[in-house]
């Protein structure tokens, strides 16, 4: 601050000094003369002249000094000195600015102004009078155009003088950065929080908390927006189909939540796995395959026969049966010949027995079911194969399934073990509903109520087929069976209370209450109050709802049924769907206790407050510092706190990339959905550990501990970790893990499923760890394709980036970081060499091995000789990392983009959080304690 004031004073003094000059020259020009020496960078702002104009004037002044005068510029706006004084004295704090340094005028002058000065304006482009201040939409647009044209190489035209590579690089680097700043400045909400609609996650959780049932809201329009969090109110739109979808979803939820009749009987049903499997496999083999094969045999034995004579439509079908016989007879006959299949079922990847299924019969109600399997491992099985995946069966027997969990199996086949999990079984025929006027056409997807068990594999039909072919070649009979299932069983529905709490909450007077209109009205009012969180439902609204109840009763519905319509209307009303914080005509207002409770619980739980939080709000302890911290801790450490950890981290670290790719089965057989699921969990569990133990956020950059389960331990070559629960493990010597940079999820995100992408990884590190995001990938930059088709290492390919200024300006910073991570392959396993190949139709035509060169330099000049030094250097940047975390936290918690107007808030949070110990939890404390968090 002082240095700025001094500058202002200095400017003021020099301004007075310049008065003597006025006698010889125009005032404004004299100012220019003086300031061109002292503060050139802000000249155009002080005078209002564009830098280009200033340069012209300076040139003129120099000429004048040499006695050359022109008439053209002889004018004197006298008032300017005063204006300047005013400017100088009000200059107090460093406002964020998007301005291009004046030094770049030289660039324009040398390469652009020949054609694009004010006089010529070729193509109606006047760069001479273009302000170097990018603070308005118009000037930002114009500069964007300049950037685009330079990036595309369109300008300067080929026959004109070309800028030196280094010159162009600096200019482009500054311009693209300033444009990012300008966009942010222009989009700054000034701290205003827009009222937000519940996003899909919040909607699902809120319904669950109100009605006690899980629903799937994936049919609602996506909440994905232009780069922000799904909590950003401004970007959460409402489209007209949505309203009717809300009504329908609410109805589905109410159908489950409102129960009638007696408590359903819990049943246990066990199926011997071999019964279904053996029947299916032998009838497919002996009936279908062998039937076709016998026909072919007949055809081959008698050359006079046509396909139709043996019951085959045409030659195509003949060929088909030949093919399937050759592929399937070995695995099927092998399967049926194995002694283990007499009292159990073997699981194979692909045919003949890809899954053992467990059907929950149609007559069973929806609800919680325990699903079990008695399962063992065949002798001499590879440890990485000894995992069973459980999920809802997909549309086809051998197709992708909806994965629920993955269990390691350690018991031998002769002494199997029981695995079990609890599954929420949806109501029968949860249909894909299509409205046709008032009628609904229902389509029933397959597999909704079928739980399947299978050996761990890629969740993709092609991969399963490949695996089958590959192993057929290897063993002659197909995949070697690893897992053996003795029996599978289900037990359910598991009902703790009858009627369930959610039902009892709605029908609060119990089962023997008088079911009349007064009771209906009370039920509706009570539910509307809960659903609306804070806002009181209007009496007229309740009476409208009651009207709907009445017409349903008149239509002959029962009391409970008649209430479903008005209840579902509540769940489609704006009072429920929007997190409302009225300002009541004020610009800023402190939140009420209840509003604070709602904001806190949607921040940390993505759900409405529970009774305890509401109580803290009601008795006034929540607004008190200690009370707020106590509740924050309770919410964070509650199981529902995982909503924050996963919801925030997934978006903060851009983890949707993990789902962008199908990881190549042949290159990375072990990186299947179970591994992906575990890898994602590792990130969440690590953050949870820091929050739980109050450990500093720097642990995410480098740590001697990892939080993993046995699946990841195998991936990381860490011995002696058994079981699927995540636990803390000290990283053994020589294992390159500990911190985000060693995590499979992060490394796999930085690939395309086949090869690593040093660019993706480098960009991610700059964005997420070093908090120094490069500008977005520019449009229209010529693609470098000189190396295409050659067998080059990723690094060799990328070095071409340095040849073009357009690329070099950003990639000089990005790529070397990626090089430092090249010892990790596309799924994050350690490697010493990189293998490249060109392939056509699955046949490798050329291949080459490249030793990894993982040396590089960070943007600040720090050199590193490989991964470990890179990680150490990044770990030094904990402050920058914490800042990135805090800025994202502000954005997520307040539901609006982080703006420059938040800089002070971020500073405060960082300072307080750091002082308290620097754990992610401490920054959360500082945020919720800040006045901004309690202000609308």
């Amino acid at each position: 601050m002082w240095s700025l004031m001094a500058t202002a004073r200095e400017r003021f003094q020099s301004c007075r000094a310049s008065e003597t000059f006025d006698k010889r020259m125009g005032t404004r020009e004299s100012l220019i003369y003086v300031f061109s020496k002292s503060v050139p960078c802000t000249l155009h702002e002080r005078t209002g002249y564009t830098p280009a104009r200033i340069r012209t004037l300076l040139k003129l002044q120099r000429n004048r000094a040499r006695g050359i005068w022109t008439k053209k510029l002889f004018f004197c706006p006298h008032s300017l000195v005063l204006i300047f004084i005013g400017l100088a004295t009000t200059l107090t704090a460093a406002e964020p600015k998007a301005a291009l340094p004046d030094k770049h005028f030289t660039f324009l002058e040398n390469y652009c102004l020949d054609c694009h000065d004010t006089d010529t304006q070729k193509g109606k482009i006047d760069l001479e009078s273009l302000s170097f201040n990018l603070g308005s939409i118009e000037s930002a647009e114009m500069w964007q155009k300049v950037l685009n044209t330079l990036n595309s190489g369109e300008m300067p035209p080929e026959k004109k003088k070309q800028p030196l590579s280094a010159e162009k690089e600096t200019f482009l680097a500054d311009l693209s950065r300033q444009l990012v700043t300008a966009r942010k400045l222009l989009a700054d909400t000034g701290g205003e929080i827009t009222m937000r609609r519940l996003n899909r996650r919040e909607y699902e959780n809120t319904i669950e908390s109100l009605l006690g049932v899980q629903i799937d809201a994936k049919d609602l329009p996506s909440d994905a927006n232009a780069g922000g969090f799904d909590t950003a109110g401004g970007a959460l739109f409402f489209s007209s189909d949505q309203f009717e979808q809300y009504l329908k979803l609410a109805r589905t939820a109410l159908d489950r939540a409102i129960v009638t009749g007696d408590k359903p009987q819990t049943k246990t049903v066990r199926n011997e796995a071999e019964e279904e499997a053996n029947h299916r496999i032998s009838s497919t083999f002996r009936g279908y395959y062998m039937g076709g094969y016998k026909k072919i045999k007949k055809l081959e034995a008698d050359k006079t026969l046509k396909p139709t004579d043996v019951g085959l439509d045409d030659q195509q079908l003949v060929d088909f049966f030949k093919l399937v016989w050759s592929r399937n007879s070995p695995p099927f006959s092998d399967y049926l010949s194995r002694v283990e299949t007499r009292d159990g079922a073997l699981l194979t990847i692909g045919n003949p027995n890809p899954q053992v299924g467990l059907v929950i019969p149609d007559e069973m109600p929806a609800g919680k079911y325990i699903v079990r399997a008695n399962i063992g491992v065949m002798p001499r099985s590879a440890p990485e194969n000894c995992f069973v995946e459980v999920g809802f069966r997909g549309e086809r027997f051998d197709a992708a399934m909806e994965l629920l969990d993955c269990f390691q199996v350690r018991a031998p086949q002769r002494k199997p073990e029981v695995i079990e999990l609890t599954v929420d079984i949806p109501p029968l025929s949860k249909p894909l509903e299509i409205d046709v006027g008032s009628q609904t056409k229902k389509r029933i997807p397959i597999g909704e109520r079928v739980i399947a068990f299978r050996q761990r594999s890629h969740n993709d039909r092609n991969a399963i087929v490949y695996h089958h072919f590959d192993s057929l070649k290897k063993t002659g009979f197909g995949p070697e069976p690893t897992l053996w299932i003795d029996w599978v069983e289900w037990e359910g529905p598991i009902v703790e209370n009858w009627p369930p709490v959610s039902h009892a909450n709605l029908f609060f007077k119990g089962e023997h209450a008088q079911k009349d209109e007064a009771y209906a009205s009370a039920i509706l009012e009570k539910f509307a109050r809960r659903a609306f969180r804070i806002k009181e439902p209007e009496p007229s609204y309740i009476s409208d709802l009651l009207g709907h109840y009445r017409s349903e009763i008149e239509a002959g519905k029962s009391f409970e049924e008649a209430l479903k319509l008005p209840l579902s209307i509540i769940l489609a009303s704006p009072g429920f769907l929007y997190l409302r914080e009225p300002t009541e005509g004020q610009t800023k207002r402190t939140l009420s206790d209840a509003e604070l409770a709602v904001r806190l619980s949607y921040f940390l739980w993505s759900s409405p407050p529970d009774a305890q939080l509401l109580k803290a709000a009601a008795d006034g302890t929540l607004q008190k510092g200690a009370g707020l911290i106590r509740e924050t801790n309770r919410l964070l450490l509650d199981p529902k706190g995982m909503e924050f950890i996963s919801g925030f981290t997934h978006q903060w670290l851009h983890m949707e990339r993990l789902d962008f790719f199908q990881y190549n089965y042949r290159l990375y057989p072990g990186f299947d959905d179970s591994m992906k699921m575990a890898a994602r969990q590792e990130v969440y569990q690590t953050l949870l550990r820091l929050i739980r133990r109050n450990l500093p956020i720097g642990e995410l950059l480098k740590s001697d501990t990892v939080v993993i389960n046995e699946l990841l331990a195998q991936h990381y070559d860490i011995p002696r970790v058994n079981g699927r629960q995540f636990r803390e493990v000290k990283v053994p010597d020589g294992i390159p893990r500990g911190g985000l940079l060693g995590m499979a999820a992060v490394l796999a995100m930085g690939s395309d499923g086949e090869r690593t992408s040093p660019v993706e990884r480098g960009t991610w590190v700059l964005r997420k760890l070093l908090h120094d995001p490069p500008p977005p990938a520019p449009a229209n930059v010529p693609q470098l394709s000189r190396h295409a088709g050659k067998l080059l290492s990723a690094r060799e390919m990328l070095e071409a980036h340095m040849e073009e200024a357009q690329c070099a300006q950003c990639h000089r910073k990005i790529d070397p970081i990626g090089y430092g991570l090249e010892n990790f392959d596309a799924v994050g396993k350690w490697r010493e060499t990189e293998y490249t190949e060109t392939a056509r139709n699955n046949n490798v035509s050329k291949s080459k091995e490249h030793p990894i060169d993982s040396t590089g330099t960070l943007p600040d000049g720090t050199k590193f000789s490989g991964f470990y030094e890179l990680r150490d250097a990044i770990a030094q940047q904990e402050a920058a990392f914490a800042r990135g975390y805090v800025e994202h936290l502000i954005e997520y918690a307040l539901g609006r983009p982080y703006g420059f107007s938040d800089a002070q808030l971020a500073d405060q949070i960082l300072e307080q959080g750091k002082k308290a110990g620097g754990s992610p939890r401490h920054y959360i404390h500082a945020l919720v304690m800040s006045p901004v968090f309690r202000t609308k």
Binding site: S152, L186, F238, S240, L432, H548, S573, Y578, Q662, R840
Partner: protein, 430 residues
């Protein structure tokens, strides 16, 4: 409440009566039936996310006018060469989002146009047309899409369409949904259906009552947010009015009935079926304005037995990836050729073909890779009276919106400008 209902009644009154002919009502007309009503104009906007292969998709810029050759990527369109025009050098000047092939495609908007917001959009060309053409059909406009759009390079949005407030308009994302909405008959008795419409109306009244009280005391920005909700309720009310009006009119079946599509259609098969549905929808005059945000990414490639993801393909370089990108182009051209076949083969009541009354556009906001200039653009159909069989190389930087304006005006939409248009594309007007 009264007030609003009043407004709606009058709004309903504005909705014109359907052309009798197009509804199969002719049998009720007088014995000396007048000549068939002139076929209405229709507009189809097809958009794909990831652009094309620029090396092989665009025709040679040296050969323009009617003296041009189809490029490799357009080769499957050979039989329709005289009936398509390719226009080069169109662009949306404000779009800098290298992976948003559809967000601003039909709008030409500037993402940053509104201070204090990091995203804004404006009305899309199809919705401008729908405002004028939509009143006479069962569906004001039809938005088709696909389930995987988010990964298909389309960018934010729910379809190609954006409403007058610049908010996304949702669409039908699977052929099976489109099929049932268009052609499945509702067998519920009429009185019951009327009662249900009344009930839906009354539900809207109830939530509007709550909206009014929610709106009390809100800040300006929050009020605007709530307006999105209100707008959607108004949209539904108009829809209900329309449904009421069409309640007793049976859904007309196309002359060659479309079969109920399977649930699991993906990739090119999905596009093919959607194209059939689209033609059928126009034939029965269920709507006159259709957008289709086509799948063209991962699932599309999988249907061509390719394992690359859409994003990876879009970043092609010479070699295997470019080959995949070219394969995608050819398949898309083949599908388009199939669509044109169908449009030509479908007859209107007056004996002309549907093709003659349709204005069709096909393209993307992305050229290829990260290039946003020279957006791929093909027009076809006789509806907008544009010159066909032409290869037009416009001036560099010609707004894509000039094309939309040309098509809108040519189709008889009363509009002065659209988006950032600076005029029409004169070469198309002959």
């Amino acid at each position: 409440m009264n007030h609003r209902r009043h407004f709606l009644r009058s709004a309903t009154a504005c909705i014109g009566l359907p052309f009798l002919d197009s509804l199969g009502f002719r049998r009720f007309a007088s014995a000396s039936a007048p000549a068939p009503a002139p076929s209405p104009k229709r507009m189809i906007f097809l958009g794909f996310g990831w652009g094309v292969t620029k090396e092989t998709w665009f025709p040679d810029v040296e050969k323009t006018g009617s003296e041009w050759k189809l490029s490799e990527g357009l080769a499957p369109l050979q039989r329709h060469k005289a009936d398509i025009s390719v226009i080069q050098n169109l662009e949306n000047q404000y779009n800098n989002e290298a992976h948003w092939g559809s967000t601003f495609y039909l709008t030409g908007a500037n993402r940053y146009a509104e201070p204090g917001k990091s995203f804004s959009n404006t009305i899309s060309a199809d919705q401008v047309a729908a405002d004028q053409f939509g009143a006479e059909t069962r569906f004001t406009s039809m938005q088709l899409g696909s389930a995987d759009a988010e990964k298909d390079g389309h960018g934010p949005g729910l379809s190609l369409a954006w409403n007058r407030q610049g908010k996304p308009v949702a669409g039908w994302d699977t052929p099976v949904v489109a099929f049932h909405r268009l052609f499945s008959e509702d067998n519920t008795p009429l009185t019951q259906r009327q009662a249900m419409l009344k009930q839906r109306r009354s539900i809207l009244d109830t939530v509007m009552g709550d909206a009014k009280s929610v709106g009390r005391g809100l800040s300006q920005t929050d009020t605007e947010k709530l307006d999105e909700y209100l707008q959607s309720i108004r949209d539904i009310e108009i829809r209900i009015s329309k449904e009421e009006q069409w309640l007793e009119v049976p859904k007309k079946q196309p002359t060659n009935p479309v079969e109920e599509p399977s649930d699991s259609l993906k990739g090119w098969q999905e596009v093919e079926v959607m194209y059939s549905l689209l033609v059928a929808a126009l034939q029965v005059d269920a709507t006159r304005v259709i957008t289709y945000r086509q799948p063209g990414g991962t699932s599309f490639l999988q249907s061509l037995n390719q394992t690359l993801t859409g994003h990876n393909m879009s970043h092609y370089s010479p070699g295997a990836r470019q080959q995949v990108s070219e394969l995608r182009d050819r398949k898309q051209s083949e599908l388009l050729a199939g669509l044109l076949d169908k449009l030509k083969a479908t007859k209107e009541p007056d004996g002309s073909s549907l093709f003659d009354h349709v204005s069709l556009s096909y393209g993307s906001n992305i050229n290829s890779i990260h290039y946003l200039t020279n957006c791929p653009a093909i027009v076809s159909g006789g509806g907008a009276g544009v010159q066909l069989g032409q290869h037009i190389v416009a001036d560099k930087g010609t707004p894509l919106c000039n094309l939309w304006l040309t098509l809108l005006q040519g189709s008889g939409v009363d509009v002065e400008s659209h988006g950032d248009s600076t005029g029409t594309v004169p070469e198309l007007q002959g």
